[in-house]
């Protein structure tokens, strides 16, 4: 059974200051929820750089290689036909389709990975802590158990957060 304390800010500058303070006091932040991406929040929260770029590269490489290989096979082995005197292994002709498949595979691999790693997607069941997050509220969510709750509440108050609420699940 997990419990949360949520508290909000109305401004991202205050949020950043608050989060810094909260982390410095050793309180573990489960999540920060904002209406738009706040620059600087990544580093203040200690988030690691995403590896989605690696997925994109891998997808693109697969697209490129399979696209080029497939065209080569079709043209030299499966259905070799002399089109306008071009050689069967006509590398310049293969480039457009290879390029398109590179981009297509890279984009889709990355976006699918994005959905999977965030655990969002069609029909996903996620917790909406506050309906004003997508409007103008910046929420801090702290996970805790009963023994530490008073400490957490005071730290949050010190960090200038408003609307400190205890939520059970």
């Amino acid at each position: 059974m997990s419990k949360y304390i949520t508290a909000y800010y109305s401004d991202e500058v205050d949020l950043l200051k608050g989060v810094k303070l909260i982390r410095s006091k050793g309180l573990e932040i489960a999540d920060v929820l904002t209406p738009f991406p706040v620059h600087g929040l990544d580093s203040v929260m200690g988030m690691k750089r995403s590896r989605l770029s690696v997925v994109a590269f891998a997808g693109g490489a697969i697209g490129a290689i399979s696209g080029f290989a497939f065209q080569t096979w079709v043209f030299t082995s499966a259905y070799p036909i002399n089109f306008g005197g071009k050689p069967l292994f006509s590398v310049p002709s293969f480039i457009p389709v290879t390029f398109e498949l590179t981009v297509l595979f890279a984009a889709f691999a990355m976006v699918i990975a994005f959905f999977i790693t965030n655990k969002i997607g069609p029909g996903a069941k996620t917790v909406i802590h506050d309906e004003r997050i997508t409007d103008d509220r910046f929420l801090v969510v702290v996970k805790m158990d009963e023994t530490k709750s008073d400490n957490a509440l005071s730290i949050l108050k010190e960090a200038g957060a408003q609307g400190i609420t205890l939520k059970g699940e």
């Binding site: 999540d31 209406p35 988030m47 398109e100 029909g123 997508t134």
Partner: protein, 456 residues
């Protein structure tokens, strides 16, 4: 990040975050205005005209068109290239302006990308219907079949299939991933249960988590990095449809970047045409400011000038090459039976964008609207001139012929306008036309109550 005080604000009216939400969501609430109903009725009728023309084409055949042996491509391909070109502006705004850190893109990218998707659909309609035997349309896809045939990867027409499919899918993904957080906003503001459920589903469970936002930014950036060369490649491959041939006026190495510039040129004109009306009708002038219009006009000068330089280059090199067929192609364009089309093209494409050098004109909404329409007319004629004049008189004079469109072809074109405007009108009711979250992210630094923001 520090923003110099001499810069014009991008968001006016001293907005707060919740005001931004409210303003942008307002067009989706309540009943649409009478103008919306009038608009969608007209576009609906146009679409019906297109439906009739499609029926005529499919049931009675391509004979209902004005094509003949000499001129095998005319309005169909002109319209195809015209629509694809228009689509390019959306991707340019979303992807390329993102890579160039142009914050002014945040209030126009959502509708521009939507425009792109609709334009690609309109574009794709033409190669599909010009096949004639639509039931066999799947032949263009590479799949293992009992005829033991494969598609011709050597052909630019097939490269088009891959390019347009990829372009549509990647643009769709780029648009939708960007839209998800805003759908979250619509979901959370929805009072009606069904509305909340539908947008809840469409929002994919978006929570606003900072981790999710961080990955969202990474995905947006990489998609931008992928979409930028993609958009260049799509119109390049479209230009290959012509340039890989040996036809005078078609086979020329400048086509790839020239077509791409022309596409961005016409695309921005269409974005301006749409947004000038939209910002007024939906009271979004505080977000789509004169500044935005001016910046788009500057891109129009840039791309229009590149197109103009390309015309001069083609003309000069046609003479310089000493190839009489190439020289004739250009003389025929300017002085032959289609000269009227050529001069409309020159006036609209070369002269009108140059007017934007004057600050008074490029900051005038009315002037911009008029010029944007002329640009699109000019760019339609450019494709028409390239396609038809090169075909109607090439190497063999005994094959020379003339072309005139039929009612059916005109109907198909008008039908795509119907499709375009119907879908756009639906879009403005169903989704926020401005990227709410993105505008909020630049509000502090670039809104007109700027504070000196300081992170870390």
């Amino acid at each position: 990040m520090y923003v110099s005080p001499i810069r014009e604000p991008l968001i006016r009216g001293g907005k707060t975050y919740s005001q931004v939400t409210k303003d942008i969501m307002a067009p989706m609430a309540g009943k649409p205005s009478i103008y919306w109903y009038i608009g969608i009725t007209i576009s609906g009728i146009a679409a019906l005209f297109g439906a009739w023309a499609s029926y005529m084409t499919v049931y009675h055949g391509i004979g209902t068109w004005g094509l003949n042996k000499t001129i095998g491509w005319a309005w169909d391909i002109t319209n195809f290239v015209w629509w694809v070109g228009i689509g390019h502006a959306g991707t340019f705004i979303s992807a390329i302006l993102l890579l160039f850190r142009q914050k002014w893109r945040t209030s126009i990218n959502r509708s521009a990308e939507a425009m792109t998707l609709i334009a690609i659909a309109c574009a794709g309609f033409f190669p599909t219907i010009h096949m004639g035997r639509l039931l066999l349309g799947f032949f263009i896809l590479p799949y293992p079949n009992t005829r033991e045939l494969w598609v011709n990867f050597n052909s630019p027409l097939l490269w088009d299939v891959f390019a347009l499919t990829t372009y549509f899918l990647v643009s769709l993904v780029f648009w939708y991933v960007g839209l998800i957080p805003d759908i979250g906003t619509v979901r959370d503001k929805a009072k009606n249960k069904i509305r909340k459920a539908i947008y809840g589903f469409l929002s994919f469970g978006w929570t606003g988590s900072a981790r999710h936002w961080s990955r969202h930014e990474t995905v947006s950036l990489i998609l931008a990095g992928l979409a930028a060369p993609l958009v260049l490649s799509v119109h390049t491959i479209v230009s290959f449809d012509f340039a890989t041939s040996v036809i005078p006026g078609w086979h020329t190495t400048i086509f790839p970047p020239y077509f791409v510039s022309g596409a961005v040129f016409s695309g921005f004109a269409m974005v301006l045409t749409l947004l000038i009306v939209t910002r007024k009708a939906l009271n979004l002038e505080d977000y789509i400011t004169i500044n935005h219009i001016e910046s788009m006009n500057k891109i129009i000068i840039l791309t229009g000038s590149i197109v103009g330089i390309a015309y001069l280059t083609e003309f000069f090199v046609a003479w310089y090459s000493g190839v009489e067929y190439e020289q004739y192609a250009f003389m025929n364009r300017a002085f032959g039976p289609y000269a009227w089309a050529y001069w409309i093209m020159m006036t609209c494409n070369v002269i009108t964008p140059q007017l934007f050098w004057f600050k008074k004109i490029r900051t005038s909404v009315v002037a911009t609207f008029i010029i944007s329409i002329f640009v699109n007319i000019g760019m339609w004629f450019e494709r028409f001139v390239i396609v038809v004049t090169s075909l109607h008189r090439d190497y063999l004079p005994s094959s020379w012929a003339m072309y005139k469109p039929t009612f059916v072809e005109v109907g198909l074109y008008i039908g795509t306008f119907g499709l375009f405007f119907t879908l756009f009108l639906l879009f403005i009711r169903v989704f926020p036309v401005i990227a709410i979250a993105e505008v909020k992210s630049v509000l502090k630094s670039s809104g007109d109550n700027k504070n000196d923001t300081h992170h870390e």
